[in-house]
Amino acid sequence: MPKLLQAIARLFWRDLTVAMRRSTDILTPLVFFVIVVSLFPLGLGPEPAVLRVIAPGVIWVAALLATMLSLNRLFANDHADGTLEQMALAPYPLALLALTKITAHWTLTGLPLVLISPLLAVQMHLPESAIGTLALSLLLGTPILSLLGAVGAALTLGLRGGGVLVSLLVLPLYTPILIFGAGSVAGVIAGIDTEAHFSLLGAFLALALTFAPWAAAAALRVSLD
């Protein structure tokens, strides 16, 4: 189905181009992520032993909040300017178009977090062996954050105070990912086998990838009604 692929490619290209032209959109979550993580050594003192213990949790919580911060722009602009109506009327499954937008969202927010995480790991005195685990856990985890967040963003579309509502809706769903993501890094530091953590993160990702786009599409249709 080359036409479907073309529609997906153009939509993906569009989201990336628009974000590049509004670079603050990309930089805000990233800068937020770096600043929040950097505040902890300042607040707790630069004791490596302390930082090492809290690092996995701190970095993961900061990643969660940074993703949260960017969720409202996932569909809100398109809703306001009418593009979302056109997407809903396109002769292609809305779930696939939503998945395209989610992928673009992850490329613009999740991926930069993954890429900068080794730097923050060094700052937090994580042992070398844990740096790779942290990046890998974020690589598996941040797409789940974007996928689940998209459902929340779609549900609260056009509501007043949608930003706060999205947090209340989505943060509880994020807890398992936080537990297993941060747990895998802490496990490596403690010398425990972390295969189970990664298997579970992978399972969550597969599950979210299967259901979240459809849930988001259904929520978008309700919001447009």
């Binding site: 080359p2 036409k3 073309q6 529609a7 490619a9 153009r10 939509l11 290209w13 569009r14 181009t17 628009v18 032209r21 509004r22 602009n77 306001a80 300017d81 009418g82 593009t83 109506e85 056109q86 997407m87 809903a88 009327l89 396109a90 002769p91 292609y92 499954p93 178009l97 447009l224 009604d225």
Partner: protein, 206 residues
């Protein structure tokens, strides 16, 4: 052929209209008029499938649009109140994305459409610098690019100058002459010079 059978629409808990039936054949234009808030936009969105009808059904060539789903969307071009234009993209890019989304792969028509609607000079500026009327013309350019048989247009002429209105009327007439169908709301007279104009008038303010 587009048919509405016993259509009833409700917004919140206020009934807007009920027992609305019509059928629109190729080459015909349906002009929906009425006071503000009488349900014109709701009717159009229902005809697109964006809003669910409270009762009744809409058929396209005999099949209900709910069953046709994406096959119906492939036949339909809708221009709503919002123009569907991303301000950070150029008019060319906006049309390219829109035509990609609507399943159109022919890029040469985009330039033709921009020229026809007098936007060729702006094709590499960000769309946000366009005036309100120019943005409307850019939205309408999609119709020329996409070549869909059924056009559903919500106040397409709002904000257009006299020349643009007459250009748009010409485009509408051409579409009808090619066997297209048009459903339109407009407070202005739509002078398409054909006899096949249906009128629905909503009078009561819901």
């Amino acid at each position: 052929m587009l048919e509405a059978v016993d259509l009833e629409c409700v917004r919140g808990d206020r009934p807007l209209f009920s027992h609305l039936s019509f059928s629109l054949k190729p080459g015909e234009l349906l002009h929906v008029t009425g006071v503000n808030g009488s349900g014109k936009t709701t009717l159009l969105r229902t005809l697109c499938g964006l809003t669910r009808a409270h009762a009744g059904e809409i058929r396209w060539h005999g099949n209900t649009i709910r069953r046709l789903g994406d096959d119906y969307h492939a036949q339909l071009a809708y221009i709503g109140h919002a123009n569907g234009i991303q301000g950070d993209l150029t008019p060319l890019e906006n049309l390219s994305v829109a035509s990609g989304l609507s399943g159109d792969t022919d890029k040469s028509r985009i330039r033709t459409a921009l020229e026809r609607l007098g936007l060729a000079a702006y094709h590499h500026f960000p769309s946000k610098i366009l005036s309100q009327g120019q943005k409307r013309r850019l939205a309408l350019a999609r119709l020329v690019v996409e070549h869909k048989p059924l056009w559903i247009l919500d106040e397409p002429l709002s904000g257009l100058d006299v020349d643009s209105v007459s250009l748009m009327t010409t485009i509408l007439m051409e579409h009808l002459a090619q066997g297209g169908l048009i459903v339109i709301t407009s407070h202005q007279e739509v002078d398409v010079k054909t006899k096949t104009v249906l009128q629905i008038q909503f009078n009561q303010r819901a």
